[in-house]
C-alpha cells in the first residue's frame, strides 16, 4: 500500500508540473463560466417558469461541447508517455505490482478531475451570497449534477486510462479515448433521431446505457442507483482491461 501512495504522489505531481493540467483547468473554468453565464441570462429574461439555475447550467451546449475534451487531455499521457520513454521498464523492474501502477495513475487522474470542478462550485456559492438567497438554489439538483459528473468522470477516465495503455502514441490514445467517450454520450441522442425505426428492446437497452437519460435524471435531483452501479461497473471493467494490458507483457506468448 505504501508503494501505491508513493506512486500516487508522483503521478499527481506529474499532472501539475506539466502545462496540460493548467490548460485543462482553464478549459473547464471557461466552459462552466460560459454555461453559467448563459444560465444567468435566462434568469434575467425572467423565463424561469421551469427549471432552475443549476439545470440551465448543465443543460447547455456550451457545457457538453467541451466536456469530452477533458478526458483525453487528462489521461492520454498516463501510460503512453512511459511506453514511449521506456520508463515503464525502469518502473517494472522495481518491486511494484501492475495494480499499484494502474491504481496510482487512475487515482491521480480522478483526484485531478475532482479538483477541476471545484472552481465551478464557487459560481453557485457566489450567486447565493450576492443575491442573499433571492435566487432559488435547489440543493438536490446541485448534488445530483455533481454526482453524475463524478460518475461519468470515473468511467471516462478509466476508458482514457485503457486507451493510453494500448499505445505509445499520445495522439492515438487521445483519439481512442475521445471517440469512445463521445460515442457513449451520443448514443442517447442518436436514438432520438432514429426513433421508431428500431425495435423497442433496442431502444430500452440504449436508454439504459446512454448517458443522456442519466444526466437528465440526476440533474433534476433524482438519484437513481442503477446508473451508479452501471458507471462503477464500467469503471472497474476498464480498469481491469488496463491492468490486463499492462500485465500483458508478462503473459505474451
Amino acid at each position: 500500500m505504501r508503494i501505491f501512495w508513493v506512486l500516487l504522489k508522483k503521478e499527481l505531481r506529474g499532472f501539475f508540473v506539466s502545462p496540460v493540467a493548467y490548460i485543462v483547468i482553464a478549459l473547464v473554468m471557461v466552459q462552466t463560466g460560459f454555461s453559467f453565464r448563459a444560465a444567468l441570462s435566462i434568469l434575467e429574461t425572467g423565463a424561469h417558469s421551469q427549471g432552475s439555475i443549476v439545470r440551465w447550467t448543465f443543460d447547455s451546449q456550451w457545457f457538453w461541447l467541451s466536456y469530452f475534451f477533458i478526458f483525453p487531455l487528462v489521461t492520454m499521457r498516463l501510460f503512453s508517455e512511459e511506453k514511449k520513454l521506456g520508463t515503464l521498464e525502469t518502473l517494472f523492474t522495481a518491486p511494484v505490482r501492475a495494480w499499484q501502477v494502474v491504481g496510482a495513475k487512475y487515482g491521480a487522474a480522478v483526484i485531478f478531475y475532482c479538483i477541476l470542478w471545484l472552481p465551478s462550485l464557487a459560481n453557485f456559492g457566489l450567486v447565493e451570497y450576492l443575491t442573499g438567497g433571492a435566487v432559488e438554489m435547489p440543493v438536490g439538483q446541485l448534488q445530483g449534477s455533481y454526482l453524475i459528473l463524478l460518475l461519468m468522470g470515473l468511467f471516462n477516465l478509466a476508458l482514457g486510462c485503457f486507451a493510453s495503455s494500448l499505445t505509445s502514441n499520445q495522439i492515438v490514445a487521445a483519439v481512442i479515448s475521445f471517440t469512445g467517450s463521445l460515442m457513449h454520450y451520443l448514443l442517447g441522442i442518436f436514438i432520438i433521431y432514429v426513433g421508431k425505426r428500431v425495435p423497442e428492446v433496442f431502444l430500452d437497452a440504449v436508454g439504459y446505457i446512454a448517458s443522456v437519460d442519466h444526466i437528465r435524471a440526476f440533474a433534476s435531483g433524482l438519484i437513481d442507483t442503477r446508473p451508479i452501479v452501471y458507471y462503477l461497473s464500467l469503471t472497474l471493467l476498464f480498469l481491469g482491461f488496463t491492468h490486463q494490458v499492462v500485465e500483458f507483457r508478462r503473459w505474451k506468448p
Binding site: 520513454l85 518491486p95 505474451k252
Partner: protein
C-alpha cells in the same frame, strides 16, 4: 547468484533466447557479450523479473523469476539500455522517489539517495532537471538508481554505451569497487572493457551461448586458432616436417604459386610461437622462405566472426 536453466523466450514466431543455461557465482563480474539482436537484453529482462521466460527457469538471488518476481526485483538493481528516466523530475527527487519505491523510508531513503549520488558523482547535478542532463550524467543517475537498495546483484544493460572514455573509466572503476559487496552482470559491445573488469564472459549469439569462460581462457583458446602463413619454396615433405615441430597443430598446403612457390598455413597451439623453429628448419632443409606472417585473432575477431559467419537457426 544466478542459475539459469534452459531459459527460453519466444516472441511471435521468433525465438529470441533459445534454451540457455548458465550460472553466476556471488561476487563475480560477468560480461554478457554478443552482437545486437543476440538476445542479451531479452535475457537480462527475464533475469530482472521484467518479463517471464516462455519456458525454462531462472533462480536469481534465491528466488524464481517467474513465481517470486517481486522478491527478485527487491534483490536486483536493473539498469535498462539507454537509461530511460523521468525528464520532468530533478535528479535528487527522482532518486528519492526510486528509493521510496524500493521500500526505503524517510531518513534512510534520504541518506541512501545522498550516498549513491556521491558514489556516482551526480551530487553537483542534484537540483538539475533530468531532461537537461547530458547522456553521461543520465547514465550515472540510472546507475545510482540501481544501487539505492543495495541489491545483491546488479544487472546492467550496456552501462557504458554512449559515454566518453573518461566516463567509461569512471564507471569501470566504480564497478570494480562494488565487487566486494555486489555481483555484477553487464552487457557490452566493448571487448577491451570485458577483458579489463570481467571475471567471466558469456558470449551469446542468435539466442544461444557460444562461449563461457574467463577472458584469459577465452583469449588463450582463441590464440590456439592462431595461424602462421608461409610462402615457401623447397623439396621434401614440407607439411609433415612442419607438423613435427613443437607447438604446431597442423600444417596445410594452400596453393601452388608460380616457379615452385607454395603457400602453407600452419595452425599453432596455444601460446606458442614456432616462427623461429620454422626458420631453423627451413635453413636446415634448404628451403627458401619469402614471406612469413603470424595472425593472432583478437577477441574482436572472434566476435565479428561469431556475428557474421553463423547462419541463424532454422526456426527463424
Amino acid at each position: 547468484m544466478i542459475e539459469a536453466q534452459d531459459l527460453t523466450k519466444r516472441y511471435a514466431g521468433r525465438t529470441a533466447v533459445d534454451a540457455i543455461s548458465f550460472f553466476v557465482k556471488p561476487g563475480e563480474i560477468v560480461g554478457f557479450l554478443g552482437p545486437n539482436g543476440a538476445g542479451k537484453t531479452t535475457t537480462m529482462r527475464m533475469l530482472s523479473g521484467y518479463m517471464p521466460p516462455s519456458s525454462g527457469s531462472a533462480v536469481v538471488a534465491g528466488y524464481d523469476v517467474f513465481r517470486d518476481s517481486i522478491d527478485v526485483r527487491r534483490n536486483v538493481g536493473y539498469m535498462p539500455e539507454n537509461a530511460p528516466l523521468y525528464g520532468d523530475l530533478r535528479v535528487k527527487e527522482y532518486l528519492h522517489f526510486r528509493a521510496e519505491l524500493k521500500g526505503l523510508r524517510g531518513r534512510e531513503a534520504r541518506r541512501r539517495t545522498g550516498e549513491v549520488m556521491d558514489m556516482c558523482g551526480v551530487t553537483d547535478m542534484r537540483r538539475r532537471l533530468i531532461c537537461n542532463l547530458s547522456k553521461g550524467y543520465r547514465q550515472r543517475v540510472a546507475l545510482a538508481d540501481t544501487l539505492l537498495h543495495q541489491p545483491q546483484l546488479l544487472i546492467l544493460d550496456e552501462p557504458t554505451n554512449g559515454l566518453d572514455p573518461t566516463q567509461i573509466r569512471h564507471i569501470r572503476e566504480m564497478l570494480v569497487g562494488l565487487k566486494e559487496r555486489q555481483t555484477v552482470m553487464l552487457s557490452t559491445h566493448i571487448l577491451s572493457e570485458v577483458e579489463k573488469i570481467c571475471d567471466r564472459v558469456i558470449m551469446i549469439h542468435h539466442g544461444r551461448i557460444r562461449a563461457c569462460d574467463t577472458p584469459q581462457n577465452l583469449a588463450r583458446q582463441l590464440r590456439a586458432a592462431a595461424t602462421v602463413s608461409l610462402e615457401i619454396k623447397g623439396k621434401g615433405p614440407m607439411t609433415g616436417l612442419l607438423e613435427a615441430l613443437p607447438g604446431v597443430r597442423k600444417a596445410e598446403q594452400e596453393e601452388n604459386l608460380n616457379e615452385g612457390w607454395k603457400t602453407i598455413m600452419v595452425r599453432v597451439e596455444a601460446q606458442c610461437d614456432p616462427r623461429e623453429a620454422i626458420l631453423e628448419l627451413a635453413t636446415k632443409e634448404h628451403w627458401i622462405i619469402r614471406e612469413m606472417h603470424q595472425q593472432l585473432p583478437s577477441l574482436e575477431d572472434v566476435f565479428v566472426e561469431l556475428a557474421a559467419s553463423d547462419a541463424p537457426p532454422a526456426d527463424q
